[in-house]
Amino acid sequence: MKRAEIISQLNEIFEDIIDEGSVSLSETSTSNDVDGWDSLAHIQLIVAIEKTFNIKFSSDEILSWNNVGEMIDCILKK
């Protein structure tokens, strides 16, 4: 799967979970850039991403991400 496809799917997941209208993620996006990306939304996002891509993250992996690009790196390694 290409990075562009992943980010497109992530946009859909974020829009569904965060429910604050259109989301346009980039590789450098962080929680500070997305309205509604709070701690509870973060848990629900991780659950939705794991289910969508049929993968499992570790807590260490999640804590290591500094932006959406690093999240995508992690998804691609699965």
Binding site: L40, H42, I43, Q44, I46, V47, E50, K51, K56, F57, S58, S59, E61, I62
Partner: protein
């Protein structure tokens, strides 16, 4: 993790007069479908229809009181109503662990309420967090 994928939990609930009265007081919903026998019969029901959201309260009880740990918090709860429930019907509640998300200490349950005739009264999905 205290929960295993596909682990099943069961409980039985009944919408008693006491529960009905308390829910009515709490919600202040006096819609005649729930309060007027004649109105309900005129709409094709055999008697007053119980408030569907009483089942949401039963889900709250299940999460808060029936699990093997009290260290829980509800993140989200979805319900779809399939068949009407009437006073004093015994509902078999079944929930199974449909997802374990260790990285974020979250568990998902799929659940259903089954009426005495075997029909589904409601079903849905609950996501909870496990408190540390």
């Amino acid at each position: 993790m205290e929960f295993q994928l596909n682990e099943m939990f069961k409980h039985q609930f009944t919408v008693t007069l006491d529960i009905y009265n308390h829910f009515q007081m709490c919600s202040n919903d006096r819609n005649p479908l729930h309060t007027d026998e004649e109105f309900a019969r005129a709409k094709g029901f055999p008697e007053k229809v119980m408030y569907g959201n009483i089942l949401n309260a039963f889900v709250s009880y299940f999460i808060g009181e029936c699990l093997p740990t009290k260290n829980v918090i509800i993140h989200s709860q979805e319900i779809a109503f399939k068949n009407h429930v009437f006073m004093n019907e015994k509902l078999d509640f079944e929930a199974h662990v449909s997802g374990v998300f260790e990285a974020v200490n979250a568990i998902e349950f799929k659940y259903k309420f089954i009426k005495p005739d075997g029909k589904i009264a409601a079903k849905g999905l609950i996501q909870i967090g496990l408190l540390k």
